[in-house]
């Protein structure tokens, strides 16, 4: 107990937990986890933002719960316990979305349920929450979810803007009047391959700026 009080809530180590996943330890662009949902829900910005927030809630809370329980979970059945916790939270989030944001919930369809299988969540529980106290685990969950979320939102921004000519559903291209000059929306941006290529370009830019990420063979 005394140990916790000695360390300030946002010590340098804890800030690192929050900040590293945004850049050099990003779950999508560096660890290449959670790619499936990154490809599936990034056609429009709104579902992407909702997805990012949902994952953040699930990851942060499940990290805290597992970290609190970590000493009483038997090692041999820990995956099942983790799954029960994640599944409970995902169902809560799903019901919440159905009640208060039905349209978006319909757009996300099966992908809310599939948060259960999102590799980032299981990965963080196994790699971090099982060995750390609740507060650092909470920060780690927030950091990783936000690292996942901003990539999702960035990709969906480009896909919605170039693919349907709008931002957050607002028809920017139409208001600018570029269609009169013969501009057309790029149909390929809406197809899944362009999500992959957009993520690839983000990875490219990141590695060009941060040479330490480039693997040496």
């Amino acid at each position: 107990m005394e140990n916790i009080e000695k360390e300030p809530l946002l010590s340098a180590k804890n800030i690192k937990l929050l900040k590293n996943p945004l850049g050099q330890d990003n779950p999508i662009t560096v660890q290449v986890l959670g790619i499936c949902s990154a490809l599936a829900v990034t056609v429009k910005m709104k579902p992407a933002i909702v997805m990012a927030v949902s994952v953040m809630v699930v990851l942060a809370v499940s990290n805290v719960v597992i970290a609190a329980l970590r000493k009483s979970i038997p090692g041999r059945i820990r995956i099942i316990v983790q799954l029960v916790v994640i599944a409970t939270l995902v169902i809560l989030v799903d019901q919440f979305l159905k009640a208060f944001a039905f349209d978006v919930s319909k757009q996300l369809s099966v992908f809310v349920g599939l948060i259960i299988t999102n590799c980032i969540i299981m990965g963080r529980l196994e790699a971090f929450a099982m060995a750390n106290k609740p507060w650092p685990s909470f920060l780690d969950g927030l950091g990783n979810a936000w690292g996942y979320g901003w990539i999702l939102i960035a990709v969906s921004f480009f896909r919605e803007f170039l693919g349907t000519g709008s931002i957050m559903g607002y028809p920017v291209m139409e208001k600018l009047g570029v269609y009169n000059f013969g501009y057309e929306d790029n149909g390929m941006m809406i197809l899944p391959p362009m999500a992959l290529i957009t993520v690839g370009i983000i990875i490219w830019v990141q590695r060009a700026r941060n040479k330490s990420l480039i693997e040496t063979k």
């Binding site: 790029n186 149909g187 390929m188 941006m189 490219w204």
Partner: protein, 385 residues
């Protein structure tokens, strides 16, 4: 020529180390070797040198493309007169009409593509790759004539950056860059790449004759039945709607002859791809399945982009299989796939582009197994000896 050589020599020091335009040395290098055979002498050991370097290879392909290009120009004019009922146009009139319509596309393709190549070469400190000389000519030839120029520019940028530079530039790309550009447009702006109107200049804007359809033979076969297709002779000569360079099998065959005689294009791929398509065509004729399987097998060779793809796309030395056995396998499978996509896929009347791109991806795998089989065979020979 002498004047040019003197001028180039005169400005050379400016681009050497310490010169005023040191940063642009690869630009100078690119131009100098494009115009003249380099006079650098190897300093150590003995080397066998040949004038047939990459620039000359590319030039040969460009020459081989000329018949298809010239016929394409004429055909643009011809199809235009048919669609709009302009019966009094002379042959030269049609040709110039087509040439002037095609020229902007070629210019856009080269300016954008070479621009990106130049910038990439400066950033990386490479020499400028001459691979784009051919790609830049292929791209206009595989587009419908009415496609807007900015779309050509976007697709060229995509093909050169995502298709080529990311992998390390010329010689490192997995997919044929020209086909990458076409595939990008095909999926991005399908309204400009498919349908009945885009193949003929001016028809998208309307104003064609009543009842005139600009559908390609492949689309006709799918929509109106095989009986309504143009005659085999028309398809062979090439007086049919289609992408600019792909219509005339005769013109493409002349190009193929040039490529084979100079040893630039692989006859193995061309032969095996033709046989593959013919074989599967005959098989489908015999078995039936849907109406489309009843197209005479040899029709597949003369309609759509098959001939052009076989001669100029599938034989791309970078993206095709490298081993001789691999080339036969690669070619035959490409030919089979072209016909299978044409016949069995309701969404795509044409299969050449997708078949070649798919096999481009498979080519390294084919080579891997061919090389391994060879190693195993030789090990066995040593053991038995």
């Amino acid at each position: 020529m002498n004047f040019l050589l003197k001028k180039m020599k005169q400005i050379e020091p400016l681009f050497k180390k310490g010169g005023r335009f040191e940063k642009l040395h690869s630009v100078y290098d690119g131009f100098a070797t494009f115009l003249f055979v380099p006079d650098t002498v190897t300093s150590r050991g003995s080397h066998i040198r040949d004038h047939m370097d990459m620039k000359r290879t590319m030039t040969v392909v460009l020459i081989a493309l000329m018949p298809a290009l010239l016929f394409g120009c004429y055909n643009i004019g011809l199809q235009h007169t048919r669609a709009f009922g302009l019966n009094d146009w002379t042959l030269m009139h049609m040709f110039w009409f087509g040439f002037l319509k095609l020229l902007p596309m070629i210019i856009v393709s080269y300016v954008v593509g070479l621009g990106i190549e130049f910038v990439a070469a400066q950033i990386r400190g490479h020499e400028i790759n001459e691979g784009y000389l051919v790609t830049g000519m292929l791209i206009p030839l595989i587009m419908p004539i009415d496609v807007p120029l900015w779309m050509v520019a976007v697709s060229v940028a995509f093909a050169v950056i995502i298709g080529k530079e990311i992998f390390g530039g010329t010689g490192m790309n997995i997919l044929n860059p020209a086909l990458t550009a076409r595939a990008f447009l095909f999926f991005s702006y399908p309204g400009w790449m498919t349908g009945d109107a885009v193949w003929i200049e001016g028809l998208v804007k309307g104003g064609g004759l009543d009842g005139f359809s600009g559908a390609t033979p492949l689309a006709v076969a799918k929509l109106e039945g095989i009986a309504n297709m143009p005659s085999a002779m028309d398809m062979f000569i090439g007086t049919i709607p289609g992408s600019v360079g792909e219509t005339s099998t005769v013109a493409i065959l002349i190009g193929a002859l040039i490529l084979i005689l100079t040893g630039v294009g692989s006859w193995r791929i061309m032969l095996s791809m033709t046989l593959g398509a013919l074989g599967i065509g005959l098989l489908l004729n015999a078995t039936g399945g849907n109406d489309y399987t009843q197209i005479p097998a040899y029709y597949h060779l003369i309609m759509g982009g098959f001939a052009f793809g076989t001669v100029f796309m599938a034989t791309d030395p970078v993206t095709a299989a490298q081993t001789n056995t691999g080339k036969y396998i690669y070619g035959a499978l490409t030919g089979v796939l072209v016909v299978v996509i044409r016949v069995f896929n309701p969404a795509y009347p044409e299969g050449t582009m997708l078949a070649i791109l798919l096999m481009n991806v498979m080519a390294p795998l084919i080579d891997h197994y061919v090389v391994n089989a060879n190693i195993r065979r030789r090990i066995k020979r040593i053991r038995t000896a």
